[in-house]
Symmetry: C2
Subunit: 402 residues, 2 copies
């Protein structure tokens, strides 16, 4: 019984997790402060932005997660708490203290995350005041309120949960995310929060998260800009009461598969909701010499403004794909490349071939477009997800005024 089943819910689907969200007034009329709490202290792991201008909450959470444990997560939207020096660190710590008191745990067992405007201090009066009612609102059905509380220009909440069994015990993994890449003006940031009741060794949890993120959140691009606040957290509280996973083997593999499924779903949802996006574009690279080469090739195609505008225009412009592969830095040979759009071959051995234009145009009208590229250099593969580049992207980002 190795199946992984998708079930309703998000960050509260796993045993022993409650969540909630409140409106503090930092931004418009939606929830803007959310919290997750585990009944018991949980193993914790994280992947953070590589940015050298990483925001204050990233720096504070790095400190707090150093011991591998956490019990609560506090996230605010509307203000990124980034690029404001020492004040930012102080405010992020104050929020962690506040949350710790609220759920009665140590401050360093609180992880914090922020998303929103860069360069303006957090409106601490609003947030601390708004926070007061939050601990009492945390509940097993609070996942929607939580998912809403971290939205910025997102147009829908992004949640998923899956279950599977380890030695007869039901294990659940759930999560929520917000996007999408650098999107609205300073409304930066991709955030992902994953909760699970699996009992697992901390190092294995950490490795599993990195692996899943490498094949999901690290494989999407909306506009190529990386944010100051990007963060993915996972909490594992062990309440599924499975025999603790402490070595590699089928149990770990199954968990890895479930975790990747959750991460890929949440990552793709971010791209689908990219600013001004009208289409989700999947770029599949097969036959690369190594995963790194496959990833380079995939990202060059997925991040190309010319490819993205062609997808918006529903044009099977393989010349732009070839050009992007050419400058990708990946190890390729032009005369070996095959390109398929929606399964229809358009390039064979580096040369354009006649294709069924009508069938291709039909595929390009879809909300989801698949570009498959066979490099024929080896066995490695990579899949990158992106969206098209539309007038609305320019509108959203060009008309915004600080």
């Amino acid at each position: 019984m190795n199946n992984i089943q998708i079930i309703d819910g998000g960050v509260t689907a796993a045993k022993g997790f409650v969540a909630g969200g409140v409106y503090t007034g930092v931004k418009s009329e939606r929830n803007d402060l959310g919290m997750i709490k585990s009944e018991v202290l949980a193993k914790a792991a994280a992947v953070f932005t590589q940015s050298k201008t990483a925001a204050a909450p990233v720096q504070v959470s790095k400190e707090h997660i150093a011991d591998g444990f956490a019990q609560g997560i506090l996230v605010n939207s509307g203000n990124a708490n980034a690029c404001i020096g020492q004040q930012g660190l102080k405010d992020a710590k104050t929020l962690a203290d506040l949350a710790a008191k609220g759920i009665d745990c140590a401050s360093n067992h609180i992880l914090v995350a922020s998303t929103g405007i860069i360069g303006i201090p957090l409106p601490m009066d609003l947030i601390t005041k708004g926070f007061q009612q939050l601990p009492s609102l945390l509940s097993p059905s609070g996942n929607d309120d939580f998912a809403e509380a971290m939205m910025t220009t997102d147009t829908f909440t992004k949640q998923i949960a899956v279950t599977f069994k380890i030695n007869g015990k039901k294990v659940t993994v759930g999560g929520a995310s917000k996007g999408s890449g650098m999107i609205h003006p300073n409304m930066a940031t991709m955030l992902g929060f994953i909760t699970t009741d699996i009992a697992i060794d901390g190092k294995l949890l950490n490795d599993a998260l990195k692996k899943s993120v490498d094949h999901s959140f690290n494989m999407i691009t909306v506009d190529g800009d990386t944010s100051t606040n990007d963060t993915v957290f996972v909490l594992a509280n062990g309440m599924a009461e499975n025999q603790e996973v402490i070595v590699e083997g089928p149990e770990l593999e199954l968990f890895q598969k479930a975790l990747t499924k959750v991460c890929v779903y949440l990552a793709k949802a971010i791209v689908r909701d990219g600013e001004g996006a009208t289409k989700l574009v999947t770029v599949e690279i097969v036959g690369a010499g190594t995963f790194e080469h496959a990833k380079k090739a995939g990202f060059a195609v997925a991040a190309s403004n010319l490819v993205k505008t062609a997808m918006f225009g529903e044009d099977p412009n393989w010349g732009r794909i070839m050009a992007a592969l050419g400058y990708s830095g990946a190890d390729i040979r032009e005369e070996k490349i095959d390109i398929f759009i929606g399964g229809e071959a358009v390039v064979k051995k580096g040369i354009g071939i006649n294709f069924d234009e009508k069938r291709l145009k039909e595929h390009l009208k879809n909300k989801e477009i698949i570009l498959s590229i066979a490099l024929n250099m080896g066995d490695a593969t990579a899949t990158v997800w992106t969206c098209d580049l539309s007038y609305d992207y320019v509108k959203i980002n060009g008309e915004y005024h600080t």
Copy 2:
């Protein structure tokens, strides 16, 4: 008398160069085939695209320039002769043979360049027929016809010429370019052609071109996409009769300065004419540890879709600049960064400061915007030029159909 003076003209300004252009019918109603001829065999140097899907003319020109000499250049627009396998190489060689016969020189002393649609064989019948009258049209006043013959989506010709003196002898450097990055659909490619009558050692000429290109054509970005056909050529025919420059020293420095002036002008003209561009944006990085770090920082800012849309929207959005610096990979420290927009300080030591919003908004209305970033890490500098990202970029690239 070390001044470098700008004079009228382009690739025929230097002694002993003639040029021209004709309409062969490969594209609409403008000239689409151009040629430059030097009266005598000239020293030649080139910088080519780094793309692994480099077009056939790039491959053929690499062979032909290997001995360091050339006497003629043939360029066609409307078709890039790229991604069509062996046929492309054959056609590029045929064109070189044709041009060689036309001006009575050896085939390997002809350099070829193409720009236009990728993946479709050159219409050789049209080109060979149209070529017939070209040799007889070459003239000292043919620079405009030549400059027009290589245009694709360019909206104006790009030409400049400068003179200076070496030991009393007048030396001239002239050039023409077309843009802009990857632009119209498959109408890829940046091309640059420079002619000079200086007498100079071949290796020094080669080094000088690389240096000038590194600070001009290699410092511009329109949409980050690199083409299959990008090429810059320089021919130096020695007809200025200066004492040949064979060692480093003030004469070489003066020539380097003149060559860079020509290259920077031609490169900036390409950006100014970028697809849908309404503004030229200059990103100046000062105080970097090394030139490479300065370049990385500059390109991250210049290539950011978010910065580019902010410039289009005339918004002083320094948060997007900080975010781009953060993920640039350059060695930076947030707390050391100062940012100026149009000379007005907006960030000091990594933190946003109050600025004269009215004055700043006035600057942002200009056709040319200057973003200056002091990293305060060292002494190295770099300047990168880009354009804004407008609705018209999406329109031009999204509505084009192959």
